[in-house]
Symmetry: C2
Subunit: 90 residues, 2 copies
């Protein structure tokens, strides 16, 4: 029973990590389609990219692969949205 609880907790953590990492994907798709991101805060993206990069470093220090992998996905998506925002600004 304790083992079952530990496993289900881990599954919840994995699903939570998956959702928070892929959350920027709909934003990326929307921005690619509409070719504008004027209402998206660039400072939000910078703070997010800094935080997510630190999470990767934390994952490396703790040798925690799920943290490294999910945050690597996040950083790629966030950098892509930030680049598109800069591109469509001009």
């Amino acid at each position: 029973m304790t083992h079952f609880i530990a496993v289900s907790t881990q599954v919840i953590g994995l699903v939570a990590g998956f959702l928070t990492s892929v959350s920027m994907l709909p934003q990326l798709i929307k921005t690619l389609k509409e070719k504008k991101a004027g209402d998206v805060s660039f400072f939000m993206l910078i703070v997010l990219i800094s935080g997510v990069s630190l999470w990767i470093y934390y994952g490396v220090l703790k040798d925690d692969k799920p943290i490294i992998i999910t945050n690597c996905i996040s950083v790629v998506l966030n950098v892509a949205v930030a680049s598109l925002k800069l591109k469509y600004k001009s």
Copy 2:
């Protein structure tokens, strides 16, 4: 030395968690100022709110206060941005 490494790893995790939780604050301020959020993906906010809510549940299951607190800040900020997006749509 091992203790020092453990403490500095924890500090990195706390700073990372702080940055990712408050990242939506610049978006909230920008949306409040400009009274529009047409370019912000609503689906992104929904996925993010679902993920962050699951993180809170994960934190409760593991009795991990930093996870609970940082993700509660996130959920409040994200729900605020989502509400403003709906408000300024009409």
